[in-house]
């Protein structure tokens, strides 16, 4: 995994600080070229991994990357699935069973069973999950997707319900079908790590909010710091700026001060912001690479 990953919230009207700002961004990134321009800027700054939701517009972006492979020879996607609002809105509109059918292929015994309202056996849950993953992965056909994530709303729902095995099915399917590593996004890091241990998923890739003010770090900032320092997993830090509540240098000092954190994902809309953030991470990493002890003491 690269040290710096590029996120996509800014492109799809997601902003945890201001709805006004989210709307302005949705307007700005309405046309695909505006998004490509920002991704190009990030690429030129050395950021070659795009960690993106399986939003339908990402499908259009994939078309662009497929059409211009020569421009991005080493470009990598980390799909994060599903785009939950798509499902949530469908459930509200047509009900849970109907929504499930809507996102599954028409043909096949499973669709027919669901249609008949029959009970679903364990093996079918696994098959349904695989079909849903495949449906989400279609848009990435022919592109490099070395890590495939399950979004926090699903990870955390399964975690809360205690449907741990479904996380295991996901991991297994992503490995077997796509030769990819499974990744897990969560707002409940310590709790999830216990479950991944239980499932025997060794050294998992887990993406969670990691920020200095402890925003959306359920279980508490101390538990997070302890888990990061002592447990065997590959942490990716997201929401490091806590939606802008922390100044960039201070925010990144906190994250870069924890050497076990493997990657940092951030989103930005301007070349200047991308360059600034990337340079800060590089600078702080370089500092850490020099004398270790005084750095840790200072942190």
């Amino acid at each position: 995994m690269d040290r710096v990953l590029f996120g996509d919230n800014q492109f799809f009207g997601v902003n945890h600080m201001s709805e006004e700002k989210a709307r302005a961004q949705a307007m700005r990134f309405q046309e695909l070229p505006a998004i490509v321009e920002v991704l190009d800027a990030a690429y030129q700054e050395g950021i070659r991994t795009f960690m993106c939701t399986t939003h339908e517009r990402v499908g259009e972006l994939c078309d662009h990357f497929r059409a211009h492979r020569e421009r991005y020879p080493d470009y990598v996607f980390y799909p994060c699935m599903p785009y939950a609002h798509k499902y949530a809105n469908a459930v509200t509109e047509v009900g849970m069973l109907e929504a499930l059918r809507k996102f599954l292929p028409d043909e096949g015994a499973l669709g027919a069973m669901l249609k008949a309202g029959m009970a679903v056996a364990s093996k079918d849950v696994r098959a349904i999950l695989q079909l849903l993953v495949d449906a989400e992965m279609k848009m990435f056909h022919g592109l490099a997707t070395p890590v495939i994530f399950v979004q926090n709303v699903v990870t955390d729902l399964l975690l809360g319900l205690g449907m741990k095995q479904a996380l295991g099915y996901f991991a297994e399917h992503v490995r077997e079908r796509y030769g990819a590593e499974p990744g897990f996004i969560t707002m409940n890091l310590p709790r999830l790590l216990d479950v991944l241990d239980e499932l025997g998923i060794d050294n998992p890739i887990v993406c969670a909010n990691i920020n200095k003010i402890g925003f959306r770090m359920c279980g508490g900032i101390e538990a997070y710091e302890k888990a990061i320092a002592t447990r065997r997993f590959r942490p990716i830090a997201m929401s490091v700026l806590a939606s802008g509540a922390i100044a960039p240098r201070e925010a990144l000092e906190y994250v870069c001060g924890q050497p076990e954190i493997q990657s940092i994902v951030f989103g930005a809309s301007s070349r200047a912001n991308i360059r600034h953030t990337k340079a800060l991470i590089d600078e702080l990493d370089a500092q850490r690479a020099r004398p270790r002890r005084p750095q840790l003491a200072a942190a």
Binding site: N89, V91, S122, V125, D156, L157, G160, L161, Q165, R191
Partner: protein, 358 residues
């Protein structure tokens, strides 16, 4: 440990199940839902004891409380069954569709001294709590006007197979969507004593309204406006905003932030300054033990658990409080089709324009 049973495993029911299951002081004993495909999967994968029948679950399990997340039409009867058996009740919004049912159930809960709560989760959103706090401390001065808006992409096509599209089931934007905004207005300004100029409009739905607009009149002379549309796909998800104008300033809050403008006169309250102050969700949100979709969902569950432990029967979102939202919805519903009051005289302005365009 508080022993809980859940009825209804739709979107909210599943979300509640996950949250209650993770609560350290709760034991989820059983759940019930008519869809076998769901209960089967849950039973198999999580060992949850599942029923297809509510009454049987109540009869066979020793519960302290139930969580009811069924279609709105079913709330009243299920709440009554649960209260009659002496259980504490958490019920999804809206509380009931008939105010008389609600009054009876409030009395029943009072008589049995049971804890009751309705899922108006916006009262547990940090920014709205801050808005209510600012409002209650009097910084805005005498209330002049309050406005609540809620928009989102729920019904975007002229079909719809769920109960949400059927008026008799409690579907429609008024009871199923606007109730959040109404409750938020009640949270800040208290209940209005009358409503007027209600427009309930269908954009896509055949049987129910997709948009609700209405004026509310408050006892102190202030007015309010409600503007709700669940067929607005320019919003990614439900977006709720409340604004209030008082003699001393203005307040605007949504899920992310609480913006306050105070005139010089409003600054006497401790810690407040004139001009704009903005507080964001990052500073207004308390940590929860488990997060799913938003802190407020966990916070309301924890509040319910604490209420049971402390015997708090008149807390936030009690049946009594939620019934006030139902009353407003009923007032608005009663205006359905009433139409505008027309000036009986021939309009001067109209004839002038008519001349121009003829």
């Amino acid at each position: 440990m508080i022993r809980i049973g859940l009825a209804g495993l739709g979107k909210m029911g599943l979300s509640h199940l996950a949250i209650f299951k993770t609560h350290p002081e709760v034991e989820v004993v059983a759940a019930c839902d008519p869809s076998a495909y769901l209960t089967d999967a849950l039973a198999r994968f999580t060992g949850l004891k599942c029923y297809s029948d509510f009454e049987r679950m109540l009869a066979q399990e020793a519960l302290d409380a139930v969580v009811i997340s069924t279609p709105s039409r079913l709330h009243a009867a299920m709440v009554e069954q649960a209260l009659t058996r002496g259980l504490h009740v958490f019920c999804e919004k809206p509380f009931v569709l008939d105010v008389r049912d609600g009054e009876r159930l409030v009395e029943l809960a009072d008589a049995n001294e049971r804890v009751t709560q309705v899922g108006y989760h916006l009262r547990f959103v940090g920014a709205f709590q801050e808005a209510a706090r600012v409002f209650a401390c009097g910084a805005l001065g005498k209330l002049h006007h309050v406005r609540a808006e809620a928009y989102g992409p729920v019904v975007l096509r002229a079909k719809g197979a769920t109960w949400r599209a059927a008026k008799s089931e409690g579907g429609g934007a008024l009871y199923d969507y606007a109730c959040h905004a109404i409750d938020l207005m009640n949270f800040l300004a208290g209940p209005p004593d009358s409503v007027g100029g209600a427009a309930l409009e269908s954009l896509f739905s055949r049987d129910v309204e997709d948009a609700v607009y209405c004026t509310l009149y408050y006892p102190g002379g202030a007015t309010g406006q409600l503007s709700v549309n669940w067929s607005d796909e320019s919003f990614r998800k439900m977006s709720t905003k409340i604004s209030a104008w008082g003699a001393n300033g203005r307040l605007v809050a949504d899920r992310q932030e609480c913006q306050l403008y105070l005139r010089e006169a409003g600054m006497t309250q401790a810690g407040m300054r004139p001009g704009w102050s903005v507080r964001y969700t990052t500073e207004l949100t308390d940590e929860v033990w488990y997060y799913l979709r938003g802190e407020e969902y966990s916070a309301q569950v924890n509040y319910f658990v604490r209420s049971i432990q402390q015997g708090r029967t008149n807390g936030t979102n009690s049946f009594r409080s939620a019934l006030e939202a139902d009353r407003v919805a009923a007032l608005i519903s009663a205006q359905r089709g009433a139409g505008p009051a027309r000036d009986p005289r021939p309009s001067q302005a109209k004839s002038r324009w008519a001349r121009i365009f003829s």
